[in-house]
Amino acid sequence: MTYEKILFFIFAMSACGGALGVVLAQRVARMAFWLIISLGSVAGLYFMLHADFVAATQIIIYVGGTLVLLIFGIMLTATGPHVKIQTSPGELVMGAAVGLTLLFLIQGTVRSVDWNKAAMVTSGGEFQPGEGKGYNPTGQGNTIRPLGMALLGLRPDKDLGAPEEAGLSSGYLFPFEIVSIHLLVVLVGASYLARAKQRTRPTV
């Protein structure tokens, strides 16, 4: 039992426990709290996969952004002190059916993959399980630079053939910018719709 396994169990258990808490809790604010636990543990799992950018993004967007919005929504729309949600048995059955179907689908997919072979393929045949490659206490240059370069269309981790061929790749920057402008338009539209209507001058 290595320490990675122990930490994986801790994070996985708290992710599942948080999810269960969301389902079983009655008060909406408590659901939000359990969702924080669950999403935070998933971020922990990302950290364990050395995907610190994804993990930090998970924290900043889902936990720090979406959940704050959720709690704001509860606070602004609440009619009583602690809002409760009562689930009807029909909804419970439907939810359980959808959840279990998804679980079986994912479980079947995961079991059908030969993970050792996949690890060999993705690492270019150099994969040796359980061996540390040595690590770098200053944490330099191993996450964000390849990501940023890929955004610009440079993939140093992949052989893209001839330079002129590789130069054709435009990267992900352009789609990214389009999505961000789309979001901005949505925000402006929402604030236009939501603002107080201007009082028109009464016609005599």
Binding site: F33, H50, F53, G134, P137, G139, N142, I144
Partner: protein, 434 residues
């Protein structure tokens, strides 16, 4: 990110000298590092609550605490702590008891979690991350959840209003905070706090604050925003003793109440430490010969062995960083007892109408500055100064790996292997004339 790189030297020590197994050594080293950080986390409020009372006293022409623990009342924080522990742990009947109990811990955890990625020296960082600043800002943004939950779960109008105000203020001020933090990052070309500090070695003119006029202004904008996001005066109307009793923590008492303040003081220290890393040279002293000496001392343990001089160099660096941060914390305290409060609408207007456009303008200016420099100096350079340390400093401690051909243990000499070409590109863009 490497998992548990904190433990490099201590793990080696525990494995080789003490003879523990790998997992046990790892766990023990993590425990030691965690305890050290908890010490810093708990020590900062103890020092600064006393400091704040003393400074406030002097500003208001009083003496401040004088009785507990000798002449300067330096045990006042400890006495306060003992008093707070003895108080009854109240939960109002109208409160959502679970969330009410959890909220102070969430604020504390958010403030404490940021220290995980905060480097105190070149190799003295609990979790070395390539995107340290991003992780730090992400964890710091969790503080607001604890505050909203505290306000909501108290079951009191004052708390709810205070929590709403506080949350609106903190969420709004996160935007200029992130924008201001991005500006030195565009100059340095890295999100890694260690690397950003390495760029600023040498004379003090290498500090990023003196890189160009835009960054100079950014520092002051950042400091204002950081003060506001720590809910310090003059931006502390959300706590508003006069109208909302105590804002989001109206219903809290005893230890749970003091957790909010521990979180606040720790967050003050963290944003000031980030300011000194991003703008004021971090653990670099600003005196070139001294910096060179410290770099040489640190380089002694480049082969992974333990060297007292390298340890001493890191300790001196940590002292320099903490002194710089404490000067900034002192300024925050000074401002609190000097300026009157802003109204809550003024707080929001300051952020949304002035600070965000200012930081956007500064961001644009900082991006254009290297191009301007490049034109003006006939394509010679993109910045005025050049740092003393290596742009890509060699990692100071490495774990030996097995060589594929000879199957001997060797030390990898450079870690960012894949990004070798990128380093050159980056050097031309960000490093100036090197």
């Amino acid at each position: 990110m490497n998992f548990f790189p904190i433990a490099t030297s201590i793990v080696d020590f525990l494995q080789e000298s003490v003879g523990l197994t790998n997992g046990l050594a790892m766990a023990l080293a993590a425990l030691i590092h965690g305890s050290l950080l908890v010490g810093i986390f708990m020590g900062t409020p103890v020092v600064w609550i006393w400091g704040e009372r003393k400074i406030a006293g002097r500003i208001q022409d009083r003496l401040g605490p004088t009785r507990v623990g000798g002449r300067f009342g330096w045990l006042q924080s400890v006495a306060d702590g003992i008093k707070l522990i003895q108080k009854e742990d109240l939960v109002p009947p109208a409160a959502d008891s679970m969330l009410y109990r959890m909220a102070p811990y969430m604020v504390c955890v958010a403030a404490f979690g940021t220290m995980m990625v905060l480097p105190f020296g070149e190799t003295w960082v609990a979790v070395a991350s390539d995107i340290g600043l991003y992780v730090l800002v992400a964890i710091l943004s969790l503080e607001v959840i604890g505050i909203i939950l505290a306000g909501y779960s108290s079951g009191s109008k004052w708390s709810l209003f205070g929590g709403m105000r506080e949350a609106a203020q903190m969420v709004s001020y996160e935007i200029p905070l992130s924008l201001c933090a991005i500006i030195p990052i565009t100059v340095a070309g890295s999100l890694n706090l260690v690397e950003i500090t390495q760029l600023q070695s040498g004379w003090a003119n290498n500090w990023l604050i003196f890189h160009d006029p835009f960054v100079l202004i950014t520092f002051f904008v950042y400091f204002t925003v950081a003060t506001a996001s720590c809910k310090r005066a003059p931006f502390d109307l959300a706590e508003a003793e006069s109208e909302l009793v105590g804002g989001f923590h109206t219903e809290y008492s005893g230890m749970r109440w003091s957790f909010f303040f521990m979180g606040e003081y720790a967050a003050m220290f963290v944003v000031c430490a980030v300011a000194s890393i991003l703008f004021l040279g971090g653990w670099n002293s600003g005196i070139a010969p001294l910096d060179t000496a410290l770099l040489e001392m640190r380089a002694l343990s480049a082969d992974g062995s333990f060297q007292p001089m390298s340890y001493l160099s890191n300790a001196i660096g940590m002292g320099i960083l903490i002194s710089k941060s404490w000067v900034l914390v002192f300024v925050q305290v000074w401002v609190r007892w000097t300026l009157p409060r802003l109204r809550i609408d003024q707080v929001m207007i300051t952020c949304l109408k002035y600070l965000i456009p200012m930081s956007c303008f500064l961001f644009l200016g900082t991006i254009l500055w290297p191009l301007l420099m490049y034109k003006m100096s006939d394509g010679g350079r993109t910045s005025f100064w050049a740092p003393k340390a290596d742009r890509w400093a060699k990692p100071a401690v490495l774990v030996p790996v097995e060589d594929a051909e000879t199957s001997q243990l060797i030390l990898p000499n450079s870690t960012p292997v894949d990004t070798g070409e990128l380093a050159d590109v980056d050097r031309k863009v960000a490093g100036g004339t090197r």
